[in-house]
Subunit: 269 residues, 2 copies
């Protein structure tokens, strides 16, 4: 059984979401160092790393309203501009990994996914499997994708990672885990206390208490994130929402050590 | 019958091949303007634009000897570094197109092609067709690709464009033409005079006279280029090798007007 960890580096963690096109390079480098240390400790571990769009993609996606479709020429240009913005941030992150001698390869979701009315219609993840076999680390991100009903839309990093988690889980030879490292200590309740565990059993009473993200985020706030993760918790895929700013937190979460944050799981343990 | 023109913007044209990582931005902008004018004149024309690696990808590809395979960890990192270099140049070119309101989308060949012993084994060009349907202009480039025999290699822009030309030609509803805009006035004979026309009939006597490219170019010189184009000339796909520096030359070549340069064709006209 191979171990696969999908890691989301949140847009609010690796960029300043309130300053357009501003990366937090020191944070990126710190996270890259932690991931590199994990690979040294456990070289057989498979990783897929995804990054949010933060202040690179969300502002332009919001301006062009790309999530709601692509019809006219201005929409098409907007779609391409959003793609360029998310590529720009991903390129900065890729550079951090390469400088740490970490063989990442950037794989634009635009090339792998087609949606229909914002829902996944076709996905071809063979390039990710081929990258694994070649010993490369796939680097994905939230991206624009073509949509057969509305022309085009946005596929969030969370949605993509959830789809990838399911894809590798059903193959039967991967034990899959998802870690969402953000700029927040976990999922808050109404008193801004971190909820340690969310399960299908306690979610109904917790839902009303979960605060929404405050910055611009075209692809949904915390409730959508939790619900996407709950859907795969039922498959036996644990999802951790942790604070990526705390030194060592990501390292420990990947290795399955006790970590501050929220775990979303089926709860039948 | 749709008209499809595949345009190669040579690495020696859009970069200074003797200065590492140095783009010729003014030349890029001039070429983008010519291509934009063509689209204004003939909006139904389909375009695929590819750029060579020039001084961004060739030096690193040469250093890591990526074309001859990827085996050890250092090779893998080299493979990823070459990919990053070619992406960097393509991003600069994409920015020029986007600034001219031209909806290009960058499509890394790494995601579309797998080779075996440096020969194309699998290709999935559906994303290019989907981009056409969505009204976007595909932008490709010479890239690293995974190879089932030797781990990885380099796929040149010329080879990719030739494969794409064949792919769309066999569909039967495209009239396909290929234009190679370089930093040279065409194919030279032994006296550095441009050969106006190369056909299967005159190639044997001309071959010895064709000079090789003088700068570092891991993916082959002029003879390889001519032979790749001759192979599709037989299919009825004309290939023009023109000087991209001459104002209006690319514009005229795309529209099929008389152009200075070398045409490679079947010769049965």
């Amino acid at each position: 059984m191979l171990e696969l960890v999908l890691i989301k580096l949140g847009g609010s963690l690796i960029t300043d979401k309130n300053q357009p096109y501003t990366a937090r390079l020191e944070t990126m480098q710190k996270l890259v160092t932690e991931i590199s240390l994990v690979k040294q400790k456990n070289p057989s571990l498979k990783l897929i790393i995804g990054n949010g769009a933060g202040s690179f993609g969300h502002q332009s996606a919001h301006k062009h309203n790309t999530i709601n479709g692509v019809v006219c020429d201005i929409d098409k240009l907007g779609f391409c501009l959003v793609h360029q913005d998310v590529l720009d941030l991903n390129r900065l992150l890729a550079n951090c990994f390469l400088q740490a001698s970490f063989p990442v390869v950037s794989l634009p979701p635009f090339m792998m996914v087609v949606t229909q009315n914002k829902k996944l219609l076709q996905a071809n993840f063979s390039v990710i499997e081929n990258s694994f076999k070649a010993g490369l680390i796939p680097l994905v991100f939230g991206d624009v994708v073509l949509d057969q009903s509305i022309g085009g839309t946005i596929l969030s990093t969370d949605t993509l990672l959830v789809e990838l988690a399911k894809y590798f889980h059903v193959q039967g030879n991967y034990r899959v885990k998802l870690i969402n490292a953000g700029n927040y200590p976990g999922v808050y309740d109404q008193n801004r206390q971190v909820i340690p565990e969310i399960t299908p059993a306690n979610y109904t009473q917790i839902k009303a208490a979960i605060g929404k993200s405050e910055s611009v985020d075209v692809t949904g706030g915390m409730i959508q994130k939790v619900e996407e993760f709950l859907a795969i918790a039922d498959w036996g895929i644990d999802c951790w929402i942790i604070d990526g700013n705390i030194p060592g937190n990501l390292f420990k979460a990947i290795l399955g050590q006790a970590t501050l944050g929220t775990v979303i799981r089926a709860g039948e343990y």
